[in-house]
């Protein structure tokens, strides 16, 4: 009887010690990690600031929009219609 009780106590203690780590929270500083960021071509939903002329979610259309905007807005030679 005594032997069984000691055995039971020993098993209980082992189980408690063994499972204690399961409830442990990650303690490293990057445990939470950086939040996931969406790709810019996904757009800003129905924002009033969104530029028309491209389709949100379509990467090709977004890239084309930025390329033409850069050429039109920043390349004054093409903007003025000057010969290259």
């Amino acid at each position: 009887m005594m032997k069984t009780t000691t055995m039971f106590r020993l098993l209980t203690m082992t189980a408690v010690l063994g499972l204690a780590a399961c409830g442990e929270q990650p303690q490293d500083m990057t445990g939470g990690g950086v939040k996931q960021d969406d790709a810019p071509f996904q757009g800003v939903g129905g924002s009033q600031y969104a530029q028309a002329g491209w389709k949100a979610g379509d990467k090709g259309s977004w890239e084309q929009q930025l390329k033409s905007r850069a050429q039109y807005g920043q390349n004054d030679y093409t903007r003025m219609g000057a010969k290259p």
Binding site: V34, D38, E63, L66, A70, Q71
Partner: protein, 200 residues
Amino acid sequence: MARMKFICDAERCIECNGCVTACKNEHEVPWGVNRRRVVTLNDGVPGEKSISVACMHCSDAPCMAVCPVNCFYRTDEGVVLHDKDVCIGCGYCSYACPFGAPQFPSEGTFGVRGKMDKCTFCAGGPEEHGSQDEFEKYGRNRLAEGKLPACAEMCSTKALIAGDGDVVADIFRTRVLRRGKGAEVWGWGTAYGTAQEKKS
């Protein structure tokens, strides 16, 4: 698409600080924080040169390398961004950055130092695009709106060019060929050496 890049044409920059103002207005950046600055060499001397400087979104960013909490990440477009919820405001990125891009607002969790703030290439941060949270922490997300950074789009002389690296290089190349000079982008010689240095 290549990588998003800024180029500042020192032959055109007139030190008007329009880029600085555009940035502050667009993102409602608080007092004491300048995501972009105009630096002038030999100020007041004939032949002075000015250049607009902000985060250069480095390919091998020193700020990312030294950050002890890994709050930085790089988007597919090559824009270096950071998560302010992870940043602890230690300032290591400020010591590592050769351009002095990281800024530390005087208000916030860490008193006088605050969480780091820097140019986002108008790409917001890791919050829902166009949300109030994103605006308050990182400013407007113009890239997701289908626009380019406000500083470059507002530049009156088009000295500051921003966008896809291929397009930016193409615009700059056309410009240099048309005017026949000024191919030396400011800092290029320091970083990569000049023709004279290479010969000797």
